[in-house]
């Protein structure tokens, strides 16, 4: 590879690079559709990353690692849930606290695990499909979690769009007062959505430490959780568009890494900053397009207290 970039490899690695953000964004999307703004995604992701890595490295099973990360992310999310839903704390402040706490906790737990190699994750063997030229490499040569994330896009879409439970969740997000008056358990619905968001963020974090990187280093997530939050806005709170957003972002990340490796005549720091710059640019374009009203759930980030 002398200064050239292989487009097939680029697209294939794009899918891997996008998966953690996609997972976290899907989880946050569900939470936000229920009217909860959880800014703690970064904290839940990095906790998932460290918990997943420790569980996988000490047990030798990647799947045990992913399981532990899901539970770890959900547990941390429930701290946020209890604070904001039961104790009615400010969602913005609590989310920030969750991120700060998660970052500290992760680096605390991760001490002594730096530089250790975790168990790998085998690709799914799709037989003849994987042997197809180009398409086989791009689409049919990934690990199971990549496919799981794609399946999750479909499931979240179907849940929100086609099921009664999804309808209730959306109702709670649009007007908690009205949903409460109709007898729906606002608090329980939101707690469940928050826990789901945490589980997804944890899974996404573990994908970073177990597949993408794959090892534990301090500050491993490097803002991935915040990007996931930006992608939810980009996606106008729709799962299909979250997929587009995450892959767009993953594409830029992979492209700039390839440019760095290929020795492009652009400063490395500018390339490293480009995913964040592009995120800002995309946010501007999106916000401009929806200047009136917008697609955000009407009760987003508003506390709800059923006063008798």
């Amino acid at each position: 590879m002398t200064g050239s970039i292989d487009p097939v490899l680029l697209v294939a690695s794009l899918m891997v690079a996008s998966t953690p953000i996609l997972l976290a964004a899907l989880g946050e999307l569900v939470a936000e559709r229920s009217g909860v703004l959880n800014l703690g995604v970064e904290g839940m992701m990095i906790t998932g990353a460290v918990v997943g890595f420790i569980a996988a490295a000490s047990s030798g099973s990647v799947w045990l690692g992913f399981g532990a990360a899901v539970l770890g992310g959900a547990a941390l999310a429930l701290v946020f849930g209890v604070l904001t839903q039961v104790l009615l704390s400010n969602q913005v402040a609590t989310g920030l606290a969750l991120t700060l706490f998660g970052l500290g906790l992760a680096s605390l737990l991760g001490q002594g695990w730096v530089g250790i190699k975790g168990p790998g994750l085998a690709r799914v063997d799709l037989g003849p499909l994987s042997d197809l030229p180009v398409v086989g490499r791009v689409l049919f040569s990934h690990d199971p979690v990549v496919y799981l994330s794609l399946l999750l896009v479909l499931l979240v879409w179907a849940f929100l769009r086609l099921t009664r439970a999804g309808l209730i969740l959306r109702a709670v997000g649009e007007s908690a007062e009205a949903a409460h008056a109709l007898g729906y358990p606002v608090r329980a619905v939101r707690l469940a959505a928050i826990a789901f968001g945490g589980a997804c963020a944890g899974l996404g974090g573990a994908y970073l430490s177990l597949v993408r990187v794959p090892q534990w280093t301090d500050g491993l997530t490097a803002g991935a959780g915040w990007i996931a939050l930006a992608i939810v806005v980009f996606a106008s709170w729709r799962p299909g568009r979250a997929l587009v957003g995450a892959y767009l972002f993953g594409g830029i990340t992979v492209l700039q890494l390839n440019l760095q490796a290929a020795g492009a005549r652009i400063p490395v720091e500018l390339l490293s900053a480009s995913p964040y710059l592009v995120t800002i640019l995309v946010l501007v374009v999106i916000s401009r397009r929806r200047e009136r009203g917008g697609d955000a759930p009407a009760d987003l980030a508003r506390p709800f207290h059923a006063s008798a």
Binding site: A93, L96, F101, S107, L108, A222, A273, L283, S287
Partner: protein, 373 residues
């Protein structure tokens, strides 16, 4: 069954008491965390909170306390203005970095002059750098309605890359062969930000922090702009009818907090840190968020909260050296403190009632001796 019942107006007693209760709860939970890590919890708490102030080496630690508290207070005072008005500047860390870079670059442009104008020029540059970095999310919010939370945060990562590029290329010390990092500003008399009173740790940043506290207090208590800030946070619709322009308020809050964070960065790079280096950013911008909340978004409260948070840094270092407690434990500890504060705050706005909803009974002093039915 435990219920929450909204108070007619927030309890002043609880607003003042909740930081204290939160600190106590954090001590208990932190002790449990330390115990889980296999450390003696009492020794750890003692090392963090007692020894730096009253222990054998307190003379050393007390100086460190002001060094750490100054940037936290300076940044938190700025952030609190925005937080009060519902404008969430989460990117103070980036503004801190850019302030340091701009100020340092301005000074280094005149190296090795010994003009007394250089330091004031650098101070202005630091404030300007932070201000401009804060203007990006402000103007994008005003013009396009972009979330200032996400934009200011993304800019932290951009600033970190800017810092790396300054440290390894365009601000690199030409005399230090091969090493990244700028000239040592603390050792160049024209740019140095030295200790003003020997042994106290007080440098110009401490002076600026105290001035910021006083200015913010005067602004909020006496000035119309301060009233607008408070009104916009408490009742956004009423604020609009009262003629408060949300756009101008956004620019003011993000600009002020950016400038103060930039100042903090400049005082840090010319004093305690000494140079622009890749690891210059230490998270003051994020910790200041906790300081702002712990200080009840009130200037005087922030001053106290900044000192307390500085104590966790200084004491954390002490515990790391003497007990082998990981330094990371401190940021988990700080995050926990914010959790407890937010949790206890429920008592400021709500009464805890036992039993089912019924006729309201007379209560003793708010929050004290809740009757068990």
């Amino acid at each position: 069954m435990i219920r929450l019942e909204r108070r007619p107006s927030p309890s002043r007693a609880w607003a003042a008491a909740s930081p204290v209760v939160a600190v106590l709860l954090t001590l208990v939970a932190g002790g449990l965390m330390f115990a889980a890590l296999g450390k003696d919890p009492v020794a750890a708490i003692r090392a963090i909170f007692w020894e730096p102030v009253f222990g054998e080496f307190a003379w050393y630690f007390r100086g460190q306390l002001l060094v750490k508290a100054a940037p936290l207070v300076l940044i938190a005072v700025g952030l609190s203005l925005g937080f009060r008005a519902g404008i969430w500047n989460i990117g103070a860390e980036g503004q801190y970095i850019v302030g340091a870079i701009v100020g340092a670059a301005l000074g280094l442009a005149f190296y090795p002059s010994d003009s007394p104008l250089i330091f004031p020029l650098m101070v202005a540059g630091g404030a300007l750098g932070g201000f401009l970095w804060g203007m990006i999310p402000a103007l994008l919010k005003v013009r396009f309605g972009t979330s200032e939370i996400l934009v200011s945060l993304m800019l932290v990562y951009v600033a970190e890359n800017l810092l790396a590029s300054a440290a390894v290329s365009w601000l690199r010390n030409p005399d230090a062969v091969g090493f990244p990092g700028s000239r040592n500003l603390a050792r160049w008399d024209a740019s140095a930000n030295p200790e003003l009173i020997a042994g106290t740790g007080a440098h110009w940043g401490v002076v600026a922090a105290v001035a910021a506290v006083i200015a913010a207090y005067a602004l909020l208590a006496k000035h119309q702009l301060g009233f607008h800030v408070r009104l916009a946070g408490a009742a956004p619709r009423a604020a609009r009818f009262a003629g408060v322009s949300p756009g101008r308020l956004t620019v003011f809050c993000l600009g002020t907090s950016g400038a103060l964070a930039g100042l903090a960065g400049l005082f840090e790079v010319t004093g305690p840190a000494g140079q622009i280096s890749i690891d210059f950013a230490t998270g003051y911008g994020f910790t200041a968020i906790i300081v702002a909340f712990l200080g009840r978004l009130h200037p005087v409260g922030i001053l106290l909260a900044g000192l307390l948070m500085a104590l966790t840094y200084v004491g954390g270092d002490n515990a790391a050296t003497n007990l082998g407690l990981p330094v990371a434990a401190i940021s988990a500890f700080q995050g926990m403190l914010l959790f407890f504060l937010l949790a206890v705050d429920v008592l400021t706005h709500f009464r805890v009632r036992m039993g089912r909803a019924g006729p309201v009974r007379e209560q003793p002093a708010p929050g004290v001796g809740e009757p068990a039915e």
